[in-house]
């Protein structure tokens, strides 16, 4: 068993014992199984997938860090994290369009551009994940955690 915890600045999104977790890091997707060696990695926007038994819990995250401690403790510090059922498709689409509109305006500062690009990426990931799991209804209702 793997003790997994994911926190975002707003709340503890999920904390429970799970079988395995797939996490999008900057170097590519990794899957953490019990007794993984200690690791710290930077994350990028993408899909985080938790598996416990037959249940799968997909989440959209947008960057952050993961820390794997000895004795199968995994902590994710996510900038934002949402379970798929929490993503409002229409609002995600609207947010993406807003970001796109903003990108069309002139951007003078580099930091501003980076922030906007990050926002775009985040919204795209949210949309992608929400669509993916809405279309096929294979996702079982998640374990309340």
């Amino acid at each position: 068993m793997l003790h997994f915890k994911i926190v975002s600045p707003e709340r503890i999104v999920f904390e429970d014992d799970v079988d395995q977790v797939t996490i999008p890091t900057k170097d590519g997707e990794i899957t953490v199984l019990p007794n993984h060696l200690p690791l710290v990695a930077a994350l990028q926007a993408g899909e985080l997938l938790i598996k416990t038994g037959a249940a799968r819990i997909p989440m959209a995250i947008s960057g952050g860090f993961v820390e794997v401690q000895p004795k199968s403790q995994v902590i994710v510090l996510a900038d934002t994290a949402e379970k798929v059922e929490e993503i409002d498709l229409e609002r995600a689409e609207a947010a993406r369009q807003r970001a796109q509109m903003l990108a069309k305006d002139k951007i003078t500062e580099a930091s501003e551009y980076a922030a906007l690009a990050a926002k775009m990426e985040k919204e795209l990931v949210r949309l992608k994940i929400a669509r993916k799991y809405r279309r096929d209804h294979r996702v079982p209702t998640p374990v309340q955690g």
């Binding site: 915890k5 926190v7 975002s8 600045p9 707003e10 709340r11 503890i12 890091t25 900057k26 170097d27 060696l37 200690p38 690791l39 710290v40 990695a41 930077a42 860090f65 820390e67 401690q69 000895p70 902590i75 510090l77």
Partner: protein
């Protein structure tokens, strides 16, 4: 009973008006407090976890990040450090010792919140030979009155909603620290323990040092803290260098460059939130006390008024009786 009932009546009216105002302020503060406390508690878990991660990480990484500053124990440095680098770091360290400490003071903009601002400013003024960066009008005024140096003053919003609100401040202290203007950056804030208890705290923000003192660093150390507190033995075991090594992806410098500035920002944000929750709690309490005191005062004045009125009636009756007796004789 020299005071006339008329004057007492006027005083009662004035006290009752004040009571209405304090009551309204209490309710407003209570609503603001609920929001501020919810935000504070929600982000505590994240801030605490991030802080723990950095502590564990810096224990096990030889990479020298400028924001990390000096490690206490020089002997733990790996001997692979080239001579140039250690020479350079020594000289920069020497330069740093003569430099100043910056203290960020987070207070409120408005008064009427008990001893809240006085306690924060008092805590800040205990430190000697420092430069202050104030946030909030009250601390600025108190510190200026005391003739201390204020390096910068930031306007505090009544409600801080996003970390981005604090980015100018974060940038100032981080740049100041990196270019050697400041050798140390601390923050003074009011830790929210409960709506009745708040504690002023000083926390070192930069450089990051894994401190023994558990209050230092961990914002929101309170019985309600969401991260389980480790026993000192466990803590020692966890922080012991060489117990295990981390694999760091993509590379230590990339991760630390990303993580450390964010942590500074986060710690600052959390201390602002804690201060905000404390401010509203303090104000609510102060206003409740004022309302209660006004109620007591009204009761006393009403009693006095009735006594004065009764005395007047008694006197009038006595006069009538006296007049009648005089006529009959």
């Amino acid at each position: 009973m020299a005071v006339s009932p008329k004057i007492i009546k006027r005083r009662i009216r004035s006290v009752s008006n004040t009571k209405k105002i304090t009551k309204a302020m209490e309710l407003v503060s209570a609503a603001k407090m609920r929001k501020a406390v919810a935000r504070t508690l929600a982000s505590r878990a994240y801030a605490g976890t991030a802080w723990e991660l950095v502590q564990r990480l810096t224990m096990r990484v030889d990479y020298q990040h400028p924001l990390l500053g000096n490690k206490q124990d020089e002997s733990t440095y790996s001997s692979s450090d080239s001579d140039d680098a250690s020479e350079e770091s020594r000289s920069s360290r020497q330069a740093r010792t003569v430099n100043k400490t910056a203290v960020i003071v987070i207070s409120s903009n408005r008064g009427l919140c008990g001893s809240f601002n006085a306690r924060i400013a008092g805590e800040a003024l205990k430190m000697k030979d420092v430069e202050y960066i104030t946030m909030g009008r009250k601390s600025r005024d108190i510190i200026r009155r005391n003739g201390a140096t204020i390096a910068a003053d930031f306007e505090k919003k009544d409600i801080t909603t996003s970390i981005a609100d604090l980015s100018p401040l974060t940038r100032l202290v981080m740049d100041g620290f990196l270019d050697g203007t400041y050798s140390r950056v601390s923050v003074v804030y009011m830790d929210f323990i409960s709506s009745l208890v708040q504690q002023s705290r000083v926390k070192q923000l930069l450089p990051f040092i894994a401190e023994e003192d558990e209050n230092l660093g961990v914002i929101g150390t309170s019985p309600r803290n969401l991260t389980p507190t480790l026993s000192s033995e466990e803590r020692e075991k966890l922080t012991k260098r060489g117990e295990y090594e981390y694999l760091i992806e993509p590379a230590p410098d990339v991760v630390l460059n990303d993580l450390l500035p964010r942590l500074v920002e986060l710690q600052l944000y959390q201390s602002v939130l804690e201060s905000e929750a404390s401010e509203h709690s303090a104000r609510m309490l102060a206003m409740r006390n004022a309302t209660d005191a006004a109620g007591d005062m009204m009761q006393e004045l009403t009693l006095m008024y009735n006594q004065a009125r009764q005395a007047g009636i008694t006197r009038e009756i006595a006069e009538i009786a006296g007049g009648k007796a005089a006529l009959e004789n």
